[in-house]
């Protein structure tokens, strides 16, 4: 029987999940060596969510995330060395060492950032989706957030607008069951986050976030729904972080047994097993060679970060206010000399025609009439 997936897609997903895992293992190690400081939230265990999602959308769709934000840009194709350099606080990092672990930004790959305030990025994503509709672009926005963010006011306020205005945005709640060190069930009246979509008449669904193919299918379908103008989607990816909330957290609040059980559900060997059965003639050696390549790539990333200089102290005075005539920064060009060709360019005021009607006059008048008003 022919596989529903191409060999290329399966191997790409495997490669990326392995890269994310290996990168985070090495980041954790570098943290314990004192090379990385501050808060460092590792993505280990959740790789299927970012990778499945990224393969299901287009490269120029907007994406943003919270503070556990190394995985998504890696899945998008960002440079591992530049992310590691950012973690090391070096001038060669994506944000020249000004952002650190929680604030990875790579606009070239349409990754619009990691944000450190729980839930604070949720309205930003709606704004990017709004801009896409305003400019008549066929673009969706994907916004990752954690389960605990669902209890922030930003979640409610944004969903109300996103649904009312049918914004093309996919909200992916990465439910890893803990908001920092507190089990979500202890703090949430409705711990099944996707059910909350119904409060806004919005599409909500739960997905097995430990299965990259299920993530891939679900996001593909959601993106189609958004692009068709049907409105936003709330997707709850049920996943699990194998490590603590951050490197500072030994995660004593959960049992060894629980973690061991979840580790048996590891998405990476699961995909390997699946791919082997698809009749592509794949062998263990094929996967091992991918793993070797990615290991070497991460080693090179660590070496690049380690050998990179700290940012110049003059940098303190840059990038806070845009000075007149100041150019935008293309980090890969600045750091690696790689020519950036897909830097976003937005239409000027004269080029842009706004044709979208957010609230058609007839509809608005009807709503007023229903409410017994006349204006």
């Amino acid at each position: 029987m022919a596989s529903a997936y191409s060999k290329d897609l399966l191997l790409t997903m495997y490669r990326k999940m392995y890269l994310l895992r290996r990168f985070e293992e090495r980041a954790g190690q570098q943290y314990t060596l004192g090379k990385i400081a501050g808060f460092c939230h590792l993505y280990i265990g959740q790789e299927a969510v970012a990778v499945g999602c990224n393969e299901a959308i287009r490269p120029d769709d907007y994406m943003l995330s919270a503070y556990r934000d190394h995985g998504q840009p890696l899945a998008r194709g960002s440079d591992a060395g530049m992310i590691m350099a950012e973690l090391f606080g070096r001038g060669t990092g994506y944000s020249k060492g000004k952002g650190g672990s929680m604030h990875i930004f790579d606009i070239e790959h349409h990754f619009y950032g990691g944000y450190g305030i729980v839930g604070g990025q949720i309205p930003l994503a709606a704004g990017m989706a709004f801009a896409a509709r305003y400019r008549n672009e066929d673009r969706v926005t994907v916004c990752f957030f954690g389960d605990a963010a669902a209890n922030q006011g930003a979640f409610h306020e944004t969903f109300n607008m996103a649904q009312k205005w049918k914004l093309p945005v996919i909200y992916i709640c990465e439910n890893n069951r803990y908001g920092m060190g507190t089990a979500i069930a202890r703090t949430s009246a409705v711990p099944e986050i996707h059910k909350r979509a119904s409060a806004y008449g919005m599409r909500g669904e739960a997905v097995d976030g430990m299965d990259v193919l299920k993530m891939y299918e679900a996001v593909k379908d959601a993106a189609e729904y958004c692009r068709a103008g049907k409105g936003p989607v709330l997707m709850e990816a049920n996943t699990y972080r194998f490590r603590g909330h951050s490197m500072a957290d030994p995660a004593n609040y959960r049992s060894k047994q629980e973690v061991e059980d979840e580790r048996r559900n590891d998405p990476i060997p699961k995909l390997r097993e699946f791919a082997m059965k698809q009749g592509f003639g794949l062998s263990d050696a094929d996967f091992e060679s991918i793993e070797e390549e990615e290991k070497r790539a991460v080693d090179a990333a660590v070496k690049f970060a380690d050998e990179s200089p700290e940012p110049s102290v003059d940098e303190l005075w840059r990038d806070t206010i845009v000075e007149p005539g100041e150019e935008d920064v293309r980090p890969r060009e600045r750091v690696l000399g790689v020519k950036v060709t897909n830097w976003p360019k937005y239409p000027s005021g004269q080029e842009l025609k706004v044709t979208w009607d957010l609230e058609p006059r007839a509809e608005a008048e009807q709503a007023d009439k229903k409410a017994g008003l006349s204006r």
Binding site: Y62, G93, Y94, S95, K96, G97, K98, G99, H103, F105, I107, Y112, G113, Y115, I117, G120, I122, P123, L124, A125, A126, G127, M128, F130, A131, A132, Y134, R135, G153, A154, H156, E157, T158, N160, M161, K164, R318, D319, T320, I321, V322, E326, D328, V329, R330, P331, P344, Y346, P347, S348, G349, Q350, L352, V354, D357, L358, E359, R361, A364, R375
Partner: protein, 337 residues
Amino acid sequence: MRDSSSEPTMPELMYREALNQALAEEMERDANVFLIGEEVGRYNGAFKVSQGLLDKFGSARIIDAPISELGFTGLSVGAAAVGLRPVVEMMTWNFAILAMDQIVNNAAKLRHMSGGQLRCPIVFRGPGGAGGRLSSQHSQSLEANYAHFPGLKVIAPATPADAKGMLKSAIRDENPVIMFEGERLYALKGEVPEGEHIVPLGKADVKREGTDVTLITWSRMYYFCMEAAEALAKEGISVEVLDLRTLRPLDEEAILASVRKTNRAVICEEGWALAGIGASVVDLIQSQAFDDLDAPVVRVTGLDVNMSYAANLENATQPDAPKIIAAVKKVLYREGA
């Protein structure tokens, strides 16, 4: 004083009409500009600043937001991050406290956190300061809160002409701009140049020249300062009135130049004294122009209390011309001080 006798007479507009004109002109010039806020569309604006704009620009560009300050502020910041130029109307700055996370943690920091990859061209505007007997939660001057944050520009025009020219500059600025309008200035009339009238951000304005003392102020307090200056002129005291207009960045040159000329300064602000804008102006003067001072700088501020509803208490809380006159006499070592 300006001699306007040779110029053609300019139309007199209300402060709110000047703002409306700036919005309409900038929206016509650039389709990336849109206005969002509570009741800005079909209601024509709580203070009628957006009167008629919905009919002109449609519902995608004049957007009636739900009462969700944090939500629509954050949405606008996201839109600005990908190239649109939102103008966010706060029904009053008192409500914007709910949106402060989005303004401070996102708008002000996007560029920095991204190492210069992102820019955030957005204007947050709305009325600040005391209303007419609105009590504690609706009568606050919160400029100092925002002026505290790197990454933001903060402006507070006093006159209709400045309101128009500065809003146009703010919309064209590549940075987040916080604009405080005076809730009690909206109906005030003044001459406003038609068409392309631009007032640059970061530039203070000597609104009245004088030689004995500099009165430094902005927004509604400007009018009390002018009233005080006129009264003092009758007593032979020549007062210079410096309207700061932009509170971040401060026009340090203009402040120092005026103080070096008059050798005395009084700062008048509607907000509270502790950690107020005036405190920074005093610091600037004493560190840069100490040798030019003939007297310690005096501040006239709102009292260190919450605003009351009762008319007499409300009046007693705020600066007014008699308080400013007393402060001027104090720095001049005149009677009663």
